[in-house]
Amino acid sequence: MTSLVAVGAGIAVLSGAGAGIGIGIATSKAVDAIARQPEAQGKISSALLLGCALAEATAVYGLVVAILIILLLK
């Protein structure tokens, strides 16, 4: 049972992969945009920051679920 809980928690944390891909794509696009229009760097940076925070939320949800699994199904 304990090992199954651990596997479940590990799978839940896999959601971090999606967030990683998303943040990677967002950052690459942001770098492209800054290279194309360096004068808009401020606006691009703030938009990127917000997007990253939102994308990161999915990873955080995975983390929360993993912790819940560990703590509640122990």
Binding site: L49, A53, E56, A57, V60, Y61, L63, V64, I67
Partner: protein
């Protein structure tokens, strides 16, 4: 390892500071997060009382310039986000961003961040959604507010209604999860390497992440308010 898990759980747990009885015989437990919120409130109020003293129109001191720059920046930021009609909600947004910011980095001073307790984030998210819907009703009237659920087409109305519950849930869980995640990661780092390295990571997880989450929380709330009053 067992000891570490025990201590981690101990750290994660929000202790009951004191409890008292109410009229119907029930017991009310006051959690640590509420008490720490009181501490934060006291700090903020005393600080603002001290800082706001001796404000002058001409020849402001360095302290006053810094204060004005900070508050002016926040004010302009929220004004820009919410527009002319949303001006009345700016002080609340500033209060929330200051509170969440302080709450997230108070871990540096040895206290448990109140935002690590789900009750606090639930309360914040509830207030946000109440404010959003209140702003919508105030701007459009009850009828216009009810009608706005059927936009752009009537078929999406259930999704729009569902959004009332999804938005606070998302706000609440995002803040809670980020703070909790940062907290757990920091605890693990402290377990592995107890010197120097935690200080570096603390800059990211406690300060940067904490402030970013405060920013994201108020940013999204203002965005929703702007959407509601448009």
């Amino acid at each position: 390892m067992e000891a570490f898990v025990e201590s981690l759980l101990e750290e994660l747990e929000c202790n009951v500071v004191f409890e008292f009885s109410i009229w119907n015989g029930g017991r009310v437990q006051v959690l640590e997060s509420v008490v720490i919120t009181w501490v934060i409130m006291a700090i903020l109020i005393i600080l603002s009382k001290i800082l706001v003293r001796n404000l002058t129109i001409e020849n402001p001191g360095k302290k006053q310039i810094a204060l004005e720059t900070g508050i002016g920046y926040l004010y302009d930021f929220f004004c820009g986000l919410m527009g002319e009609h949303g001006k009345r909600y700016v002080p609340y947004m500033i209060t929330v961003v200051i509170y969440i910011g302080v709450a997230n980095i108070i871990g540096l001073f040895g206290m448990k961040p109140p935002t690590k307790d789900m009750n606090v984030t639930i309360a914040l998210a509830l207030m946000s959604i109440v404010l959003i819907e209140f702003a919508g009703i105030r701007q459009k009237g009850v009828k216009g507010w009810a009608k706005s659920f059927a936009e752009p087409v009537a078929i999406v109305a259930p999704i729009n209604v569902l959004e009332i519950f999804i938005r606070p849930l998302s706000l609440c869980m995002r803040l809670f999860g980020n703070v909790l995640g940062a907290f757990v990661v920091m605890e693990l780092i402290k377990l592995c390497i107890p010197v120097i390295v935690p200080a570096v990571f603390s800059c990211y997880f406690d300060i940067f992440d904490g402030l970013i989450q405060a920013y994201v929380f108020v940013f999204l709330t203002s965005l929703f308010i702007k959407e509601a009053i448009e």
